[in-house]
Assembly symmetry: C2
Homo-oligomer: 425 residues x 2
């Protein structure tokens, strides 16, 4: 920001503000309004799958007369609408986490949950353990609290607790939390096996830190057997949710509709009480009406809604994998996710994902997210994230055909390998 | 929080978490569900005044078919829904603040605006200047950023800039911002005259800090001439909003309906861009549907809605002032606000507001907020805040009759002064 006549905003800002940077994903969302762009960016659900009839009926009913409408339009408590919290508690039980209403706090999407957990756990220079790559939105939620990041290693015989601790202390802090998306991770689409989950719990226990589990995609599994969440493993080991250290973040954004902004945290009651205070100071409460609508959606066939979404996205994942096989040049590889919304592709090493995006937008009308955005350490320059939830199969095929052709045209790739670089540039 | 088997949450939390304390107001809100309680707590609008028909029609129309419903239920940009931002910009112009859409960012109520501004401006040990008393929710929004507070003095020839600066530096930081509710303040109901506003702007300028202006009640004026906001005075002086240092926080919670959680910030474009990044990390965006509904409410007769609310609350303010005259014992005083939702009462010095509340709830079924909650420095023990927006006039009269009788029964008050303390206790 430049100096202006009245106030130099850069000087007025607290040091943490320098950690807040523009998100390429969110900036790209603005491009979606342009006609003709084929976007594989964003984690945008297909609006055709929104449970429109149930949502509409719930809104219409809740606003059906003035007296009835008083509650949904009025202030409500920071914890969230009790019937919704009750439904979420029973839903968590179906996911292997027996819990009570007091273990649940409603948030404005799981993004808000990440902001609150950063606020509660991260002091300046304290270390957050995250995968590399990890969810960009988590880094954006945590950055304002000025943490240092260290790479969370889920491999057997991976980095031991003492090594994390030593590095954190050398950086003038302590290890404060670990964050993970165990199922069909954003951005890689990869899933941690049960042994890796147990290892993370053991590590969190050795470091005596909370384990933040982002379950945004957990229910969108298209093949294979559902794995227990870290929280459910923790409950089994601890024998009660109020003795667990795992903090589960859930959302209705991927399974129902993101525009309503309803998510939740499920955790030990003592922590939930602190989160409620955080929410009180941050925005008082999430929209009352939206919570009441979501409670209805929960009660009226949530499982069927999830099945509908999973069936549709399974077909799109298959279609994207097929299209990648058809259109991508040799020298590329990509993940085969068992669920979620994303495929993670590794480009030939000489291609920069951000430069490719600029060219893809300009000459092909195709968008995706350059992978480097998901690394706290600036690595991953030759990776990209492709979303398969939004586009229809023919559009997806066309977009990937264009993208594949563009990649083939890059210096040193595919056909150019045969003809040599000289002829290309 | 006590030590539990798995994790000691107190040890796991960042230092800032110790600054987050339960709000008496929000805890009290839970009591409102109990039948028979007459509550003067909370800043709760009367739901009978919600523009129910317009809101309902907007929801029904936006959800009238599946294709139309795609946008309101989908993700949207962090800045907010453009037609709503445009309406807010034109609304700010009617309040003497010519501005563009890029000067507006939509927030989830003005509470979220205060959280964001705390996040952006307050470093640990930096000084926030606030009135004493001030809005409790502002203290709750700011506390997690670990500021030190100093008392903002609006008196002519009050505390000079150098004195604030010296104290802030002695505390190991700098003065980082000033926060004020200029119109019908929460909690006192008092309004700053134009000279006081000019003095605050001059002070902010001398200290080279942003002035946060909380305009939550600005439009609810029941008598007297509307005063220019600090932002409008700043625009006049700076000749353009992009050169101002005032950050205006607005909300639809008091004039339309709080349950939708829609507020806004109006400020210099450069700062707005930083706030948008803050919002991106904090909750991505406010509920799309709710913003679209609010844009309709804005377009369809907002001025008439504000008039309706102001007319109703003006009568209640008069009724509360009359009831206070009728029922309160000698030795008490209270403010006569020209607008807003609150009257601030000073009890006889020997009465503690918090102890009185406990007794009022137990024996009289009457609630209010003890004034000490609004002071960062723990003063104001013999003050209480009374809300006049929620209760009908007969209920208000009955509640204040009971409260007055209870105060008279306190040792050393009213009739007891005549009989002497000895006979009472």
């Amino acid at each position: 920001m430049r100096m202006v006549n009245g106030i130099d905003w850069n000087r007025a800002l607290a040091p943490r503000a320098s950690k807040m940077r523009a998100s390429e994903i969110r900036e790209l969302l603005k491009l979606l309004d342009q006609p003709g762009i084929i976007s594989f960016a964003g984690g945008i659900p297909d609006p055709n799958l929104f449970p429109y009839e149930v949502i509409r009926a719930a809104f219409v009913d809740l606003l059906s007369d003035r007296e009835k409408a008083a509650q949904p339009l009025q202030y409500s408590t920071s914890e969230g609408y009790p019937p919704l919290r009750r439904w979420i508690a029973s839903h968590m039980a179906t996911l292997g986490v027996p819990c009570e209403i007091d273990n649940i706090v409603v948030t404005s999407g799981s993004q808000q949950a990440l902001d609150f957990l950063g606020k509660l756990f991260l002091g300046a220079n304290h270390t957050a353990l995250v995968m590399a790559p990890t969810y960009l939105g988590a880094l954006q939620a945590f950055n304002p609290y000025e943490p240092r990041y260290d790479r969370l290693d889920d491999a057997p015989n991976g980095t031991p607790a003492w090594a994390y601790r030593t590095r954190a202390e050398a950086a003038g802090g302590r290890v404060a939390m670990a964050y993970v998306v165990p199922d069909f991770a954003n951005p890689t689409g990869e899933t941690l096996d049960i042994e890796a989950r147990q290892r993370l719990l053991k590590l969190a226990s050795e470091l005596d830190i909370p384990l933040i589990e982002d379950g945004a995609y957990q229910e969108l599994r298209y093949e294979g057997v559902p794995l227990p969440s870290c929280l459910s493993l923790d409950v089994r080991r601890s024998e009660h949710i109020d003795r667990t250290r795992t903090v589960y973040c859930g959302t209705f954004s991927k399974t129902v509709a993101p525009g309503l902004r309803i998510g939740w945290i499920c955790a030990a009651r003592e922590l939930v009480q602190k989160i409620v205070l955080t929410k009180q100071g941050a925005d008082l409460h999430s929209a009352t009406l939206n919570q009441m609508v979501m409670a209805r959606v929960g009660e009226l066939g949530y499982a069927a809604q999830v099945s509908k979404v999973a069936d549709a996205y399974a077909k799109r994942r298959d279609a994207m994998l097929d299209a990648l096989d058809r259109h991508m040049p040799p020298g590329m590889s990509w993940t085969k996710p068992q669920g979620g919304m994303f495929i993670w592709a590794t480009l030939p090493p000489e291609i920069d994902g951000a430069a490719l995006l600029a060219e893809a937008l300009r000459s092909e009308g195709v968008a995706f997210v350059p992978g480097a955005a998901f690394f706290f350490d600036g690595s991953g320059r030759n990776t990209i994230r492709l979303n398969f939830s939004l586009q229809s199969e023919p559009v997806m095929d066309e977009g990937l055909r264009r993208l594949g052709a563009l990649i083939r045209r890059q210096p040193g790739v595919g056909a150019t390998r045969i003809h040599g670089r000289k002829t290309m540039k």
